[in-house]
């Protein structure tokens, strides 16, 4: 596997403010890498540095083997990457086709190849019928899709996307996510900025959590285990003292009662759940449902982001 992105102690300061602090990460070929963090975490700043749009203050970074920060390499890097900025920045008075054709020319894509790629992407994104319509008349979702097509026009090695679903309605966000998944199947390397945890979890093969500093990095599953405890939620007809007593005896983690619902912290739900259910039933509890809380990544995320403050 080739390293597509290799950042070592990458740092950006704006005057006295440190926007990105000693970031070290790497992204391999074919990965969909989620870069997750709250507003102001430094996601945009990082992507702008990697795309050679702004300078770094210190540290090193390589993109597709070229040095970020070297003037001659910068042009090569920009030719190899596709970039979807947080504001789509389309030419509203140009048509969808003209927007793509202009970028195709700037990326030095030959005319027949441009024609082919434009047709392929516009068709794939369901915009081919609208190719001769001014982009300014498009809905937000259509604009976002057009911006993604624009970033793909030269078949880039890596696609950087800065919060591509942030300002979309749920329906459009879904089509954009599906398209990203489609690209994932085609083994495109994608660096996806997002503040949406669910999105990162569903789309990405690896996730980094950023809050100026890198807080954690790993697969979604690895990150879930960061908090240690996971939760088992038991819905009962009624929570009785006997049930609570029985659970206390199992020496589990924290137990929280919310009406007829019990949430129990467990280290390993797969192993411990049978015993928990058995104890509840033996104590006369009537179980309606048992589930493992799926928000453990959210817990990990919130914990990490809050810890720093």
């Amino acid at each position: 596997m080739t390293r597509m992105i290799d950042a070592e102690n990458l740092t950006k300061k704006f005057g006295g403010l440190t926007a990105v602090d000693n970031l070290t990460l790497h992204v391999d070929d074919g990965e969909v890498f989620g870069f997750l963090g709250p507003n102001g975490a430094g996601k945009t700043t990082t992507v702008r540095m990697l795309c050679c749009l702004i300078s770094k203050t210190s540290g090193t970074a390589k993109v597709a083997g070229y040095d970020v920060g070297n003037e001659a390499d910068a042009i090569k890097i920009r030719g190899l990457i596709g970039f979807v900025p947080d504001n789509v920045g389309l030419y509203e008075d140009l048509t969808a086709y003209e927007n793509l054709d202009y970028y195709g020319k700037l990326y030095k894509v030959s005319e027949p190849q441009r024609k082919e790629n434009i047709q392929r992407f516009l068709t794939l994104l369901g915009l081919w019928e609208k190719r001769d319509v001014a982009a300014g008349t498009f809905s937000k979702g259509m604009k976002q899709k057009l911006a993604i097509a624009r970033a793909l026009i030269h078949d880039p090695e890596i696609l950087f996307m800065d919060e591509p679903t942030a300002n979309l309605d749920p329906e459009s966000a879904k089509t954009v996510r599906e398209f990203i998944l489609e690209l994932k199947h085609q083994k495109k390397t994608i660096f996806l900025n997002t503040h949406n945890l669910d999105e990162a979890q569903r789309i990405c093969s690896r996730i980094a959590i950023l809050n100026t500093k890198l807080m954690a990095i790993g697969t979604p599953e690895e990150l879930e285990h960061l908090t240690g405890a996971r939760r088992t939620v038991i819905q009962l007809e009624q929570v009785t003292a006997a049930v609570l007593n029985a659970l206390e005896k199992l020496s589990l983690g924290k137990i929280v009662q919310d009406g007829s619902k019990l949430t129990v912290e467990t280290a390993n739900p797969i192993k411990e759940n049978p015993g928990i259910v058995q104890a509840v039933v033996e104590a006369g509890g009537r179980v309606q449902s048992v589930s493992v809380s799926s928000s453990s990544l959210e817990d990990a995320y919130l914990k990490l982001v809050r810890e720093q403050k």
């Binding site: 702004i54 042009i75 900025p85 504001n87 140009l94 202009y102 700037l106 990326y107 624009r150």
Partner: protein, 244 residues
């Protein structure tokens, strides 16, 4: 620097400007208006006995200088649209992410701002010269145009003025956030040229060939100075982090 890339950018901007009727018409109409206005003045005067032959050449020189005044504001209409317009649309960031250099983008945008005004001005100047020659030949007994003076104006003063106007627009563009404000600032470019014109009317200076060459020299120096500031303003990082 790749001129082909600059031309890709210029032709896209020219296409956008052509679609923006208000800008395009303004750029063409203004010099065209002068082409007909001054001959009309001469024609009307000739009904009232005409302007004396001794007075004509100086008057015509003053007329010629008006093309400079007109052209001083025209490129700003395009440059502010193509730079502040992109800033407002946020389309500069993806453009900067392509393998183009800052210089190529700046040159492309400058070409787009340069060409329509100069073409419109040259075409208008030809119409103006033909009409004036036709109207003044009976009085003067010779053809006033073309002459060295309008040659200096068209080939030196006007292109240098346009460049100055474009460079000023680039600098203004980094400071303002709407096209109209950029336009209004750019519109102020006519003031120094208006002052030169008024000075000539008041007899402080004469717009003879020597003085026109001096004006061209001064413009060249100003162009060089503003080139430094405008290219320092139009830098990738500057645009993305300081242009607000």
């Amino acid at each position: 620097m790749n001129l082909g890339t600059a031309w890709i950018i210029a032709s896209k901007d020219l296409k956008s400007v052509r679609r923006k009727k208000s800008i395009f018409i303004g750029v063409i109409l203004f010099p065209l208006l002068l082409a007909f206005l001054f001959p009309a003045v001469i024609a009307l005067e000739s009904r009232n006995g005409g302007i004396p032959a001794s007075f004509l050449p100086e008057l015509l020189n003053a007329f010629s200088f008006f093309f400079v005044i007109a052209v001083s504001t025209l490129p700003t209409a395009i440059a502010s649209y193509s730079i502040v317009g992109e800033k407002v649309e946020k389309s500069l960031e993806p453009l900067l992410a392509t393998p183009t250099t800052d210089r190529e983008i700046l040159l492309g945008k400058s070409i787009a701002a340069f060409l329509p005004p100069i073409l419109a001005t040259y075409a208008s100047a030809v119409i103006y010269m033909v009409l004036i020659d036709y109207l003044t030949y009976p009085t003067l007994g010779y053809l006033n145009y073309p002459n060295v003076s309008i040659g200096i104006i068209l080939l030196l003063v006007i292109p240098l003025t346009e460049i100055l106007s474009i460079e000023a627009s680039v600098i203004f563009s980094s400071r303002v956030n709407d096209v109209r404000a950029a336009n209004q600032l750019g519109g102020l470019m006519f003031i120094p040229f208006m002052i030169i014109y008024l000075a000539s009317e008041l007899g402080v200076i004469t717009l003879n060939n020597d003085n026109l060459l001096i004006i061209a020299g001064a413009l060249l120096l100003a162009d060089a100075a503003l080139f430094y500031f405008s290219s320092a303003t139009f830098r990738r990082e500057e645009i993305l982090t300081k242009w607000t």
